[in-house]
Symmetry: C2
Subunit: 193 residues, 2 copies
């Protein structure tokens, strides 16, 4: 039985995955989204939304799709997905965004959670491109306008990704209420197996 680890609301965590290992991302309470960033352990390949869109031909990733690096190698394969809707368009929420869009200062944010997590793994965090926003629910209308909806994840829902390389992974439980149904932000959890 894999050990489950909790990510407190608005916080992050870092972990390493060996090639072939699986990472289960879990929404214990439901309606909570998070960010995932991946770097190859040798530091040479970083997650790329642009190459993922190019190789996958879709902006909505689910089981069967892969997350690609900026060197055109698959980093992770989504092997199971109980939620079915994730975002890979939005940059991680960050200090500037909270200040400029909401007038908030010193708000917890995914950018800081991810960069801190990468530092704990000895990985250079910057520049940090767009992370994979798992469970984040964004609709694109016919005019290209983006609409952030409540996550579709119900309590206990999860997705599983398989590492295709030895990876450093940063995770965060997003503190933006707009991305998480409007209420208080909740924890996330993960298992490695």
């Amino acid at each position: 039985m894999p050990q489950r680890k909790l990510i407190p609301p608005g916080h992050g965590d870092g972990l390493c995955l060996s090639r072939g290992q699986h990472l289960r991302l879990i929404d214990p309470e439901g309606g909570q989204s998070g960010d995932l960033f991946a770097v190859s352990l040798d530091g040479r390949q970083r997650l790329s939304n642009g190459r993922t869109f190019d190789f996958g031909g879709t902006v909505y990733l689910s089981a069967g799709n892969q997350l690609w690096s900026d060197q055109s190698e698959p980093l992770l394969t989504i092997v199971a997905d109980e939620v079915g809707r994730h975002d890979f368009l939005y940059a991680p929420c960050n200090d500037d965004m909270y200040r400029k869009q909401y007038g908030l200062t010193n708000h917890r944010n995914c950018f800081s959670s991810l960069t801190e997590a990468l530092r704990t793994l000895g990985v250079a965090p910057l520049p940090l491109p767009t992370a994979f926003n798992f469970f984040m629910n964004v609709d694109i209308d016919a005019n290209g306008k983006l609409h952030i909806r409540a996550p579709k994840s119900r309590a206990g829902a999860s997705m599983v990704l398989r590492a295709e390389l030895d990876l450093a992974i940063a995770l965060s439980a997003c503190p933006a209420s707009t991305c998480n149904g409007g209420g208080a932000t909740k924890p996330l959890a993960y298992e490695v197996f």
Copy 2:
């Protein structure tokens, strides 16, 4: 009358813009797309599709929209646009992509054109995130699938961007026939004023 400079098919060019200067991107023959990457002259801010989507709330950018940096500052404002459809999802075409998707080697590619152009300006080119693919026409269907169409730009069509900071700019005329209507790739041109 601003000097017009040609970018040969499949090639690139680098230039600097002072804050307040304008860059006109021109499709002389029609049906040709290109890539634009921008870095602040002090090297601290790089173009970010994720922050542009976040601050603009749209994936389809046109007149009135801004291109944002990874430090949440506007780098460029689109002040005029005769074409009306551009892409900011796809990574620049690159050697790996031509090899893996088409079995082609030593194909000219936007990634190399952009990184070479940045080097001529003394700007660190890597890691290079997603560039702004002007005149590139990508439809997103209701399931999130991406469909590359012929550019909507007609011969002589242009768009104008205003620099909001002192910038280093890399441009490329895309050599991917799939992105340019399927035929031979064509030149692009630009003017600074």
